[in-house]
Assembly symmetry: C2
């Protein structure tokens, strides 16, 4: 089976997010009433796996091994069947 | 009212995504059966606006003015009330 997996990798609270801070400042300079901006990254994977659970487990492993930095990143995983 | 707005900015189809390609290659080298990886960026904004519609319209404007490049980017906007 083919699965589409979305992994959102975001900074843990307390870590500085210079890109978000700069974006917030620029938006305020353009006149928008923005309190805060944070930036995260989404990996959308097309993955072959035997089941939904296997796709989720493999992706969890990929996050630990490559996609996220455990020191500074949180991540969420969302698995759906690919058409 | 305060709104939490998520803006996902992704590449339009046909634009090359070197970060996604490299990630896919690395995951394959680690033994995962990955067909494709694409990378997108999520801006999470905390925004003051009079209504849900105003928050959505302002964010649409921010995308056109700053957050997305109309030549190469698609974007989706999701607005919810912030606690």
């Amino acid at each position: 089976m083919r699965y589409r997996v979305k992994v959102e990798v975001s900074l843990k609270p307390g870590h500085s997010d210079p890109e978000g801070e700069t974006t917030a400042r620029l938006l305020r300079e353009l006149g928008y009433s923005v309190e805060n901006v944070s930036v995260s990254k989404v990996y959308t994977l097309l993955l072959n796996a035997a089941s939904h659970d296997e796709a989720a487990n493999k992706t969890e492993e990929m996050c630990r091994r490559l996609l996220a930095n455990p020191t500074k990143d949180n991540y969420t995983i969302c698995v759906e069947e690919a058409p």
